[in-house]
């Protein structure tokens, strides 16, 4: 099949787009009882499992720029940010839905690229695409993804559940995605391995799915959240969900070397705390479960785990540096112009 006379999604028309999509789908796994092609998809929830469901959108001009980012990276990221939310719940992915609003002048090659990036990550993570929607957009390209997962009811990792004295552990090294965004903003090609990794983290984040599921199943964490909005925001979320306070230890924050070199004045600390989009996980762990938690975490040798702080009985969010407390920086505020991330609804203590 060639593109023939149709070179944009508007020329191709809806049925041709659906055909291009359907042709790319792998056969579904056995728990998908009805997939693409009916009024709705039907999923076997799994014996003794509860359903976990989340949605997150990428909007052109807000969360990505088409002139900066390859189409397959956009498709990848649209799924990855949702899988990160499943990981933070300790849920294994079961399926995804993709709702596209497409500008009529979107080249067909970019449409294919979006799908290819989305579906490559879907295959890699065992997340079959079971349905969605294609609509025309008179404005930006919008990718709205719903991810569905499964977990054992008593092993779901909530944000609430932390207690005063719980230790906070974070995966990976932080600030890489924010440093990658800076590279893109500067229009500069990455120099060296650390910068290449930063760009890759920004454009092709990898949700810590297997890590989140393993910790969930181990029953060793009291609470968890992902770092879509940065470590400072994640720490605040864990604290707020338990009506607690939080203190992070500035000297312990694991900073990605690319973030440190992007912001040498503070060795990348601000990028690591508030840069966002790292899609790492933050766990609250009772001190008495520490060794079992670390044993479960260390099965993932390529993903570091670092103790970065603790929950406090009194509300307030602090950064401790050389024994001195200062207020913890804010994370992103996402509705304002030009910020690179969206935010699922959260019901903070202050919002009720």
């Amino acid at each position: 099949m060639t593109d023939g006379p149709a070179s944009t999604v508007g020329d191709a028309g809806e049925r041709a787009l659906i055909a291009r999509l359907s042709a790319r789908l792998a056969p579904p796994p056995p728990w998908v009882l009805v997939d693409v092609g009916d009024d709705a998809a039907v999923l076997d929830p799994g014996r003794g499992q509860v359903g976990v469901v989340t949605t997150d959108a990428l909007v052109e001009g807000v969360h990505f720029r088409r002139d900066w980012t390859a189409p397959d990276a956009i498709g990848h990221k649209a799924l990855a940010v949702n899988l990160s939310d499943l990981a933070a719940m300790g849920a294994a992915p079961r399926a995804a839905l993709l709702s596209l609003a497409l500008p009529a002048d979107l080249p067909l090659g970019e449409f294919d690229g979006l799908l290819d990036g989305f579906l490559a990550l879907a295959r890699e993570t065992g997340t079959p695409l079971v349905g969605g929607n294609i609509a025309r957009s008179p404005g930006p390209l919008v990718l709205d993804v719903t991810a569905l997962g499964a977990a054992t009811r008593r092993r779901v990792l909530r944000r609430a559940g932390g207690r005063p004295g719980d230790e906070l552990y974070v995966t990976g090294r932080l600030g890489a995605a924010a440093a990658g965004l800076r590279l893109r903003e500067a229009g500069r090609a990455p120099a060296g391995e650390a910068e290449r990794e930063c760009l890759d983290r920004y454009e092709r984040p990898m949700a810590r799915l297997r890590f989140g599921v393993a910790i969930g199943r181990s029953g060793t964490a009291a609470a968890a959240v992902d770092l879509s909005d940065g470590l400072a925001d994640a720490a605040r979320q864990l604290a707020a969900a338990g009506s607690l306070g939080v203190a992070l230890d500035a000297g312990r924050v694991p900073i990605h070397p690319g973030a440190a070199s992007a912001s040498p004045a503070d060795d990348g600390l601000q990028l690591a705390l508030a840069g966002g989009e790292d899609y790492e996980l933050l766990f609250a762990v009772r001190a008495r479960r520490r060794s079992r938690f670390l044993a479960a975490a260390r099965r993932f040798q390529t993903i570091g785990i670092t103790r970065v702080g603790r929950l406090l009985s009194e509300t307030g969010a602090w950064l401790e540096r050389d024994g001195v407390r200062e207020p913890l920086p804010e994370g992103f505020s996402h509705f304002e112009a030009g910020r690179p991330a969206g935010r699922p609804w959260t019901r903070n203590a202050s919002d009720i």
Copy 2:
């Protein structure tokens, strides 16, 4: 709380929007184990139930115009079109997610109106809003909804399942929504009860949820689809899903009186066949199950049910009129400019 200096969603900022939303939420039903405020929602799938999931979007300038339609009608419709897909599967609603892309200049009053319309229908149908996303849009207002339902595995109503000779039954009277859209296009106030009803059907469609669930549970229908794209398209979908043909009887199509008066030349037949957006249901029923099917259907006395045609062993879609066959008109093609409906992915026989 007053709007104070903030009069648009851009002024109010994201946290204030989330607070306005959270304040409107009713306490969740017992099957919602985790609702708004965590990384994802958690749902009890229900004993012996399978999960049914669908997504559909409304895009400003494509599916609605803000200068034509009240905000609460837009919010209502965004949920209703998804519930219609659940109804067509015979699935009872369990939860919904709402992902919003909001222009910064959207007045706060309109934001509230969107939520109020959505949440009123959510309450009425027992569909708790358990999560979502708020993002900024540099272009149109976009409402992307995911609806989750539950059904007994063997009672799910698929599109496939029809056989040659099956009788086709449709709920309600058709063409009303298309006639309502014409009223809006003409900028004319509705005159009389029939026109008022048409406008209402266009702006506040009601999914046939209880009807679909009751027929599903009765086990008397072989297949079902909803009429988002009109009767002709729905009939084609049922036929294609079983690699069959279909014939509709022109004299039996139940035409809404408002459609008949909007298009007197053909008594509204074309609006009823191809107008779309009626969100009624079409069922394929084996002749030997007819009386049990009708007994189940007639428990809903306010919703008429009409036999409109039958499935054929040879492919092809026909309209029979006074004993003469002509090709069945096409329904909407939704990707083209200005058409009022979106289309979930369908995998037609011709698309594979």
